[in-house]
Chain length 441, copies 2
């Protein structure tokens, strides 16, 4: 059989590793596919840049459109919306299958791409878009295809996990930890996409779409980043034997009348130190999937980096090449369930609220009354002097200002927001220091 | 499109859950497959037994051969070698795709079945054969198809993990812990297949075959069970801040001349308490996969039980049904690499050796000389009085008998065996109490 022509779009950290794997593992890949994968070209923006590895310089081109037209299989690792989208649509219209790691594009405009794949009878695979080499999308799409997923919960952004882990282990503030992550290459010069949760939100949208057979875009994801997480929050979590993590949470909820809906959110949350996600350190990723019959599954590994991402890309490339050899294509988009998205106000979690209050008798009663008036039930409350050495016993009221830490039972986001507003209006409350969700009990 | 006819062979713990899923989730499954899955019959050995659930009694039959002949898709959850093998071969010869959870059969005679699937152009899927609902085989076969797996290491038998976990947490002996596991339904009345490592060895053979693209049968697996693990071993592990686990280990080794070989083994081993596998409690399973580009991945979940196994069966059933709808079939056996199996004598690990010795000066020197003569390097040694309160400081030599605990650096199995033989012949050594491998550093 003729070799399959592979076009590589982009030659950054991931692209160079993809090119290297295609070259060094060529014989093995041929055995696994049933024919050779021939790298016919690498589209880059500018020629002449040193790629620091042994790739045939003749492969590089700036004419991506021409390259795509001549390919059987296209690997897109440029990232971003354009020109990635146009090139992928061009590739599929020309009959090529596409493998991509582009989470932002899939989360923004996936349905356009899935529709093109279906229309032209080609594959569009994207395992590398979420958690790099950790197999997550194929398990959701295939292994759990006979089950019903209730919940996907995990750490899907390595940069923020690194930052929060450093804040926890060293007591550093947010800015300091980000600077350290940048100096070590774990965070980009402009860390916005990571620290504001955009990257995690795109991944959550992709995971939710697959888990619930429902279209979910990045815009549907409730998103809060970690820029507001302070050293005091981390310390407060420590007192609760908890740790702060940026979580992506996709949930299916069944109402009393049987109506189902899904919620998808990304936000920092406190989780108990005994929870398996609490021990996910540095830039690692880990995701729990809870399904009706399978129970709780966990997937763990390196969720970013050139080599792990290239591993996922190549796994997909072998799959779509096998399909090509067999003259068919794999499962496409599955969005038949069309479950409605639950508004964030109706999503229920537990909350950890830290208040600056006047330190005098009766304050706790006033605060508790506000919670009660909004139907939010209190689990624990801890009062501590704002200045001087904190009282580890809690609940000791000193003179002047004090910090009041309240952990609630499950409450809706709307009820909690109303509570926080009322608290801020209370004369004895000098300020609402922080509000953070509590997960993983 | 016409519904696909599904024949279910076996209606035990797994079969009843498969039947229930096919019934209660019929609409969802139809959406995911593209046509309905119609359960046309359930082959059982005897009619009339209560199955304790709402399955149409008219579906039961004792004529498995007739049922198989009329099916598009056959689910085999009888277990064991015969009649499972004959029925699966009959099914494939008749053009039906097969989904099975039968690890024993696949590990004993997989190639016969894979060849039949290839000959008749049908699918043979078996995700449920290893670690139930934890997606492991599909990730190895597809997600990591573009990578090179170096090592698979994990806990793949829930029964033995439950027993070892209880011995560790309660100080119980082996027999007592097995009895408790039996009373709770975690161990069968005859626990041989689990405690002697046969079940784990079958799973290891399947994992190694997929990981290394090489045929590995159960007979190729070096197998040691946990019946010889004593409360003293567990206690000795505790002193090393380690825990004893029954591990399945599949490794690719590259010799100095570049020649590759694989080793596959199942045995109890001490692993550090800080290792993620150490925290796998009760009947859970967890498997590490180390690949060249992906790095270290971990998969965790419930590795046994009716519902998790049924989840894996249904995932496969949806895949093979989709293939049937699309008129093609998925990847078959991949054994092109044909890597040689490394003899166990050449496999290197670290060892923990516990000796009963005469408690007098000079003994340690004699023992150390035996290790040196066999080329086995000692990492640590700990000497303690056999009776009375153990000396937590170690290395204190009292009167009479003493226990000497030696942990080696990496040594070959052959060198270690020779060492142990020489030690047993040493007059100052009253007995070799235990020899256990140390993994996970």
């Amino acid at each position: 059989m003729e070799p399959l022509k592979v076009a590589l779009l982009g030659c950054g950290v991931v692209g160079t590793e993809v090119a290297r794997l295609l070259t060094t593992h060529a014989d093995e890949l041929a055995q696994r596919v049933g024919t050779r994968l021939e790298l016919t070209g690498i589209a880059v923006r500018r020629l002449g840049r040193s790629r620091g590895l042994e790739i045939d310089p003749g492969l590089f081109t700036t004419d991506a459109v021409d390259l795509v037209k001549r390919a059987d299989l296209v690997v897109e690792v440029i990232g971003g919306i354009e020109p990635a989208r146009s090139l992928m649509l061009e590739a599929m219209a020309g009959g090529a299958s596409v493998v991509t790691a582009n989470k932002a594009l899939l989360a923004e405009d996936g349905p356009t791409l899935y529709a093109s794949a279906a229309e032209h009878g080609v594959d569009l695979y994207y395992e590398a878009a979420v958690a790099a080499a950790i197999p997550l999308l194929r398990p959701l799409r295939e292994s759990l295809a006979g089950d019903r997923v209730h919940r996907v919960l995990g750490i899907v952004n390595g940069t923020t996990n690194y930052v929060l882990d450093k804040m926890d282990s060293t007591g550093q503030g947010f800015a300091e930890a980000v600077a350290q992550a940048q100096s070590l290459g774990y965070a980009e010069a402009d860390p916005t996409a990571d620290v504001e949760g955009f990257d995690a939100a795109a991944k959550a949208a992709i995971l939710a779409s697959l888990a619930f057979h429902t279209r979910v875009s990045a815009a549907d994801v409730h998103r809060e980043g970690i820029t507001g997480v302070t050293a005091a929050d981390i310390e407060s979590a420590r007192r609760m034997r908890a740790v702060v993590k940026l979580l992506a949470i996709c949930e299916r909820t069944v109402a009393a009348d049987g109506a189902e809906s899904v919620s998808v959110r990304v936000h920092p949350a406190m989780i108990p130190r005994t929870h398996p996600l609490a021990s996910v350190r540095e830039a690692y990723n880990a995701v729990f999937v809870e399904a009706e019959y399978a129970g709780e599954l966990m997937f763990y590994g390196r969720g970013a980096g050139g080599q792990p991402t290239a591993s996922a890309v190549l796994g997909d490339l072998v799959s779509v090449a096998r399909n090509r050899v067999g003259g068919h294509f794999g499962p496409g988009e599955s969005s038949y369930a069309r479950l409605p998205l639950r508004p964030m106000g109706e999503v229920s979690t537990r909350y950890h609220i830290s208040l600056d209050v006047t330190d005098r008798p009766g304050v706790l009663a006033q605060v508790a009354a506000v919670f009660a008036a909004n139907g939010v039930s209190i689990d624990t409350v801890r009062q501590q002097r704002r200045s001087g050495r904190d009282d580890a016993e809690g609940l000791t009221v000193g003179e002047g200002q004090a910090a009041l830490v309240v952990v609630t039972h499950t409450a809706s986001d709307a009820a909690l927001s109303a509570t926080v507003e009322s608290l801020a209006d209370l004369p004895v409350v000098a300020g609402v220091e922080s509000v953070m969700r509590v997960e993983g009990d």
